[in-house]
């Protein structure tokens, strides 16, 4: 790659955050040419997101940290020496050339716009684009991302995958010369991920330079022409896609190669536990263990659960109305879910974005209560019970770690809600952090941790309670290869100890690897997955 042909170039001698002692990025050079797709691979904590934010104008030298090096965008060269005399980056002007979609997709959104269409148009409004041109652009981008049917919906009602598509749309609609996507496949179903690959190729075909930041070697990464590997803040390897290292080398770098990472791409599984076996029908699902609990009741039983958002739905319904006969209201998400979950059983639930998978999980612990039907936990109907009471038996890993983390340190975070003496609580919290590989981060603020470690910390908060039923909502999102191994081990240990586990995931390979069976939530009911 030559400097002359690149639209964005970074030559980083070192970049150091203000509140950190050592540099996060050192001695790297990266140039992005028009009309190309480049993959920047790296495990959690490698500096991938920091570099993405620096290139995207979200971490500005001087404001966020000190940069020594050169940034060049659209022919304008900026020299930085880590002093007060360094040039200031105008974020708005930078964004005219470079669009950045962060890992936490909701950050992009203004959240003051009433509909998806208005949110998409927000950036165009600020540029003074005419209403007619805006409507055309909104329709076009929404069509490309499968958001057309959601244009009149409020962004606050979207699922995690739909929000990611919206965030990508908000940046793509500005037609930047460079598009930087940080973990773009996270939470996307297979169809959406495939659509994103097509969109990336089309954008590159029109001259856009696309940079994909990922810790998972999936179809989006494989769509790239070039790849680079970032390790400990430096580029350690790179080349054309045909020269991508083999599985062993990538896995050793902490990358995920074995699973879909959003439902696309796949290579064989890696860390199957010792008790994993193939099913008689040849599928990769694990065999169901013998009855561990010996209980006469299923761990959880959902019977004809129906639920709709909107005026008929409330956060809590103190009184259960079993088998209520009435017309199906609009915005119905669950239309009669039946599920019996045994102790020690691991069930994976997949389904398209917006199908209601997270909504279903919240019925297990009473955060949502069905409009009709019943939820029995260990044989007891939880209708009208406080969620905090149900939580003694049910642990939930939320889809967004930030929804789960609210304390000042990782140790306090895990200790929250545990009962017993101070010593017992501290020991349980320390053990849970150790189980997920975060024993060295116990005093760090959860918000300071990389996304992968935030996910693991959230997992530790659930594991520390030793729940009889473990609910995991998109647990692989943001996890690198190392984190994923901790996750798989934790699931198998919990199941072996008699916990029933429900996974919601778009990662079909992970589902097959970790679960005894996979169900699909489709049109509001659960059906067995096709082999």
């Amino acid at each position: 790659m030559t400097e002359e042909s690149s639209v964005l170039r970074a030559c980083v001698e070192h970049f150091t955050f203000h509140d950190e002692a050592g540099p996060v990025l050192t001695g790297l050079e990266l140039a992005l040419r028009r009309g190309t797709i480049t993959a920047l691979l790296g495990a959690s904590g490698s500096g991938k997101t920091t570099l993405g934010r620096l290139l995207g104008g979200w971490s500005r030298p001087g404001n966020s940290g000190l940069l020594s090096g050169v940034l060049e965008v659209a022919g304008q060269i900026l020299h930085f020496e880590g002093t007060d005399d360094d040039p200031a980056i105008n974020a708005a002007e930078w964004a005219r050339h470079v669009g950045y979609v962060p890992q936490d997709s909701t950050t992009v959104l203004s959240m003051v716009r009433a509909t998806v269409g208005e949110e998409l148009a927000f950036g165009l409004e600020n540029r003074g684009v005419s209403p007619a041109a805006m409507r055309e652009s909104v329709q076009h981008v929404a069509g490309r991302l499968g958001l057309t049917h959601l244009l009149e919906h409020s962004p606050t009602t979207l699922s995690g995958g739909e929000l990611r598509k919206l965030a990508i749309g908000c940046v793509v609609i500005m037609n930047p010369e460079v598009l930087i996507l940080d973990e773009p496949a996270a939470s996307l179903d297979a169809e959406a991920a495939a659509g994103l690959v097509t969109l990336m190729r089309d954008l590159a075909g029109r001259g856009t330079a696309v940079l994909v930041l990922s810790q998972c070697v999936d179809a989006l990464v494989r769509a790239a022409g070039h790849w680079f590997l970032l390790q400990e803040g430096s580029l350690s390897a790179g080349g054309i896609m045909a020269e991508l290292p083999d599985f062993t080398a990538l896995a050793a770098a902490g990358l995920v190669v074995s699973a879909g990472c959003g439902g696309v791409g796949s290579t064989p599984a890696t860390d199957l536990p010792v008790d994993a076996q193939l099913m008689p029908d040849g599928s990769a699902h694990r065999a169901l263990p013998p009855d561990l609990g010996g209980s006469k009741f299923p761990a959880a039983q959902l019977t004809d659960v129906q639920f709709a958002f909107g005026p008929v739905a409330r956060q809590r319904r103190p009184l259960r109305r079993r088998n209520a006969q009435r017309a199906v209201p609009p915005n119905t998400v669950l239309r009669g879910v039946n599920l019996s979950l045994q102790a020690g059983e691991v069930i994976a639930i997949t389904g398209p974005n917006g199908a209601g998978k997270s909504t279903l999980l919240r019925h297990f612990n009473g955060l949502l209560q069905p409009d009709s039907g019943s939820v029995l936990i260990e044989g007891k109907d939880i209708a009208g019970q406080a969620t905090g009471t149900v939580a003694a038996a049910v642990g939930l890993l939320f889809q967004q770690p930030r929804d789960q983390l609210f304390e000042r340190t990782a140790q306090r975070e895990v200790a929250f809600g545990l009962s017993g003496s101070a010593g017992t609580i501290a020991a349980a919290a320390t053990h849970a952090l150790d189980v997920v590989g975060l024993s060295g981060a116990s005093s760090r603020h959860p918000a300071e941790l990389p996304a992968s470690q935030q996910r693991l910390l959230a997992l530790a908060t659930v594991l520390a309670r030793r729940p009889a039923i473990l609910l995991l909502d998109e647990p692989t999102v943001a996890l690198d290869g190392h984190g994923r191994r901790f996750l798989v081990r934790a699931i198998h240990v919990a199941a072996a100890a008699g916990a029933a586990v429900v996974l919601v995931t778009h990662d079909v390979d992970f589902a097959a690897e970790a679960a005894h069976k996979t169900l699909v939530l489709s049109d509001g009911i659960l059906v067995p997955a096709e082999p």
Partner: protein, 249 residues
């Protein structure tokens, strides 16, 4: 008929100005009653009532404490405790002031609780109001719901980890105490991230913003707006002229 947001604003603002200028208790009470009725008709009665109580109850208590007990011009004494005297004149004065404040506050609260914020922002943008002003207004009006959603997320996370919240007040207060600090910290963190996104999306652009959302503004409503604003100006003018030497209002 759906009111244009600026029409609603003009009516609410004029009501506040007219009742303040007129200083008539019956008029103030009538305005408050009408505003309250409109809020219930729009389905936001409980919200307006709660917000009104939060603002007016402390204010009215302060008024009656000060003027009801310590009104120098008061002559008709109902009760007396040392230097504190409850007089008819003091109570009347406090009631007049309370009704005037109420007549200004309630219509504006009805407006803020019933207005479509996106419509208001679009209407302001269409009139050339700076995008920053429009956003700040939208963010301010959307602040309470946003904080409520964030608090709900934190509460659900805590409940999912064993926090039991009972229906009685002490339990809710105890729960809120646990949620307050995480709520503030998360809002600060979110605001920081949001600021970067807004800059990147051209929020501080020098270009005059346009609006994707189109709000209908029929001619009769435009005329109505001018009429109510004119009416308010006339009442204020009359009030000022009556205050001059020789005036008799």
């Amino acid at each position: 008929m759906k009111l244009h947001p600026l029409t609603s604003l003009a009516i609410a603002g004029s009501a506040a100005v007219v009742t303040t200028a007129a200083a008539s208790v019956p008029l103030s009470l009538a305005v408050m009653a009408t505003a309250a009725a409109l809020s219930f008709m729009s389905g936001r009665g409980a919200q307006v009532l709660a917000a009104s109580a939060m603002i007016l109850v402390p204010l009215c208590l302060a008024l009656f404490m000060v003027h009801g007990l310590f009104f120098p011009e008061g002559t008709t004494v109902i009760a007396q405790w040392g230097p504190a005297r409850v007089t008819i004149e003091g109570l009347t004065f406090a009631a007049e002031r309370a009704s005037r404040i109420g007549a200004a506050v309630v219509p504006l609260l009805v407006f803020s609780c019933t207005v479509s914020v996106p419509d208001l922002v679009a209407a302001l943008s269409a009139r050339g109001v700076s995008g920053r002003v429009a956003f700040v207004l939208a963010a301010t009006l959307a602040l309470v719901p946003a904080i409520g959603q964030q608090q709900l997320r934190i509460r659900q996370a805590q409940e999912a980890r064993g926090l039991v919240i009972r229906r009685h007040l002490p339990s809710r207060i105890a729960a809120f105490r646990l949620q307050a600090l995480p709520l503030v910290l998360s809002l600060v963190e979110e605001a920081s991230g949001r600021a970067q996104a807004l800059e990147a999306r051209g929020f501080v652009s020098a270009a005059r913003p346009t609006s994707y959302r189109q709000v209908q503004d029929p001619l009769p409503q435009r005329i109505l707006r001018w009429l109510v604003l004119l009416c308010a100006a006339v009442v204020v003018g009359l009030r000022l002229s009556s205050s001059l030497p020789g005036g008799n209002w």
